[in-house]
């Protein structure tokens, strides 16, 4: 295939997949049909564009092909179901009036895709199903790609997708943008799904899996789409900025061997400035709207790190204050742990350690490796090496990825070496 045609198809895929699937589901309520027909439209483009040339409006071309396929399929199937008959009539009508083409020319607000996002992220679906369905229907990832991304066997992921679609159909989950009284809650649900997707990619990106689809990039792409579709939602901007700040560090987060490099030791020249600048612009505009929420606060915290030219220039007092604010709007144990870290850096290691100990005593984060790793780091910095070693060991038992284990092992060796020199701690343990 000519390079030009390949590029055109790739570009069209990014832009048009979700649009086509969303439009066809809107008219037929048949998710599998919509995905199949979108797939067929792209396959036909791959066959025809190299010879016939790229159409003037690739999106409209693909939409027409997909829609015709849908009509053919529905006609050829024995249509007993009155809903399907209705769907065919509606699609026929749409085809005659070319409604899709008109819609592309108007304000740019694409209700079908917004409907699709809210339906994929409906709270009655299991969380893992929401993430998978969003990646399939909206981002156009294949079942195999999603399965690889989440390190589950393909049949498991296929089953997850089937169940989610089945529930949408059979439990009466509406295909729509939620009404005003549900919108704030549902919007934060959508943001949570995108952030979960991003974090899944972020946690794994330094692991030993190289074949995984870049979930971070997919989440950012979807967040950008959501921002275009919901321009009046500053929390959505906050999330996009937060992801861009974190993603801008991807080249600096691990060394050549794949070992984690912590924020304070990263080579900041490897952070991608253009992405940081873009995040700054997005976040500035969002906070000026004066409707602050947890994602904007987290974005502001990330901005403190991203804009500090070197680690010593980090404004920890501001970060600690922002975490205090975050505790007010989203008092999860993880947020409180990060608050403790910021306080430790801003006012003193002992203050930070005291907060971590209080959190540890509550037992909420007992199985969270970062609680133990954070305690260990505080103890190490305070020179309490044998206690630090114990905490590193606890963290090691709970760590999720190979890269994290390597980092913790390295630290454990450092404090272990320190305590051997001291000698006393080993004696106290009875050797």
């Amino acid at each position: 295939m000519s390079r030009q045609a390949t590029l055109a198809i790739e570009e069209a895929f990014t832009e048009e997949w979700g649009r086509i699937v969303a439009a066809l589901i809107g008219r037929t309520r048949n998710w599998d049909l919509a995905e199949d027909c979108a797939q067929q439209a792209f396959a036909e483009a791959a066959r025809r564009w190299p010879g016939e040339g790229i159409p003037d409006r690739p999106g409209a071309w693909l939409m027409t092909v997909a829609r015709n396929r849908a009509i053919d399929r529905l006609r050829h199937e024995r249509i007993r179901d009155s809903r399907l008959r209705e769907a065919v009539a509606l699609i026929d009508e749409g085809l005659e009036h070319g409604d899709e083409e008109e819609r592309e020319d108007d304000s740019g607000i694409d209700d079908d895709r917004l409907r699709l996002i809210f339906t994929c992220c409906h709270p009655a679906l299991p969380l893992e199903g929401r993430v998978a369905l969003t990646l399939r229907a909206l981002a156009g990832l294949t079942t195999v790609e999603i399965a690889n991304a989440f390190l589950v066997p393909e049949p498991t992921m296929a089953k997850r997708l089937v169940r989610a679609k089945h529930k949408i159909e059979h439990a009466g989950i509406p295909y729509r943008v939620p009404p005003a009284h549900l919108l704030p809650e549902r919007t934060s649900g959508v943001l949570a799904v995108l952030y979960l997707m991003f974090n899944e990619g972020y946690a794994a990106s330094t692991g030993d899996e190289l074949i995984r689809i870049d979930l971070c990039a997919e989440a950012i792409r979807l967040a950008r789409l959501l921002n275009r579709l919901m321009p009046d939602e500053p929390e959505s901007d906050g999330l996009l900025a937060l992801m861009l700040f974190q993603h801008s560090r991807r080249e600096a987060r691990a060394d050549a061997a794949g070992d984690v490099i912590t924020l304070d030791e990263q080579d900041r020249s490897r952070w991608i400035r253009a992405e940081i600048e873009q995040a700054n612009t997005i976040l500035d505009a969002a906070v000026r709207r004066d409707a602050i929420g947890p994602y904007q606060v987290q974005g502001l915290i990330a901005a403190c790190h991203a804009n500090a030219p070197h680690v010593a220039a980090t404004n920890w007092a501001r970060i600690a204050a922002l975490y205090e604010r975050l505790v007010e709007v989203a008092a999860t144990p993880v947020v409180r742990l990060n608050h403790a870290v910021a306080v430790g850096m801003a006012t003193g290691l002992d203050d930070g350690l005291a907060l971590v100990d209080r959190l540890a005593a509550s037992g909420e984060l007992r199985n969270y490796h970062l609680l133990h790793a954070t305690r260990a780091d505080f103890l190490r910095r305070l020179g309490r090496n044998s206690e630090a070693a114990d905490a590193y060991r606890e963290a090691l038992d709970l760590a999720r990825t190979e890269a994290e284990r390597q980092y913790l092992t390295k630290r454990l060796q450092e404090v272990g070496a320190g305590s051997r020199q001291g000698g006393r701690e080993w004696g106290a343990r009875g050797g």
Partner: protein, 113 residues
């Protein structure tokens, strides 16, 4: 869309004195409101789970059980049949039921109807 709404409570749940007094009138008010809206078709509170009997026919023999079908902590205390536009409406109707504050409401769509 029709849904069977199971009203489930944990047998160990102790209501406060206040709640024991208000739960009945509140449930009646819910029924009245939802019937008025046309979303509740019918419903019934059920007798205690100790009064349940199970019947199975195995190998041609009738096997009678003297207890509930499933030994779970949550027991079905009643049901309502809802007719709603979609799951969002059914969720809203269920969330307004007074038992939702301490029990669990399960919304089961009717299979194809």
């Amino acid at each position: 869309m029709r849904y069977m709404m199971f009203v489930c409570v944990d047998g160990a749940t102790e209501l406060s004195a206040d709640e024991r007094v208000t739960i009945g009138p509140e449930a009646q008010a819910w029924v009245k409101e939802m019937q008025g809206r046309g979303v509740r078709l019918q419903g019934q509170e059920l007798a205690d789970v100790q009064d349940a009997t199970t019947i199975r026919v195995r190998g041609g023999e009738v096997v009678i059980g003297d207890g509930p079908f499933a030994e779970t902590k949550e027991q079905i205390a009643g049901f309502d049949i809802l007719d709603c536009a979609d799951l969002d409406e059914a969720m809203e109707v269920a969330a307004k039921h007074p038992v939702a504050r301490f029990g669990t409401l399960e919304l089961r769509p009717f299979a194809e109807g």
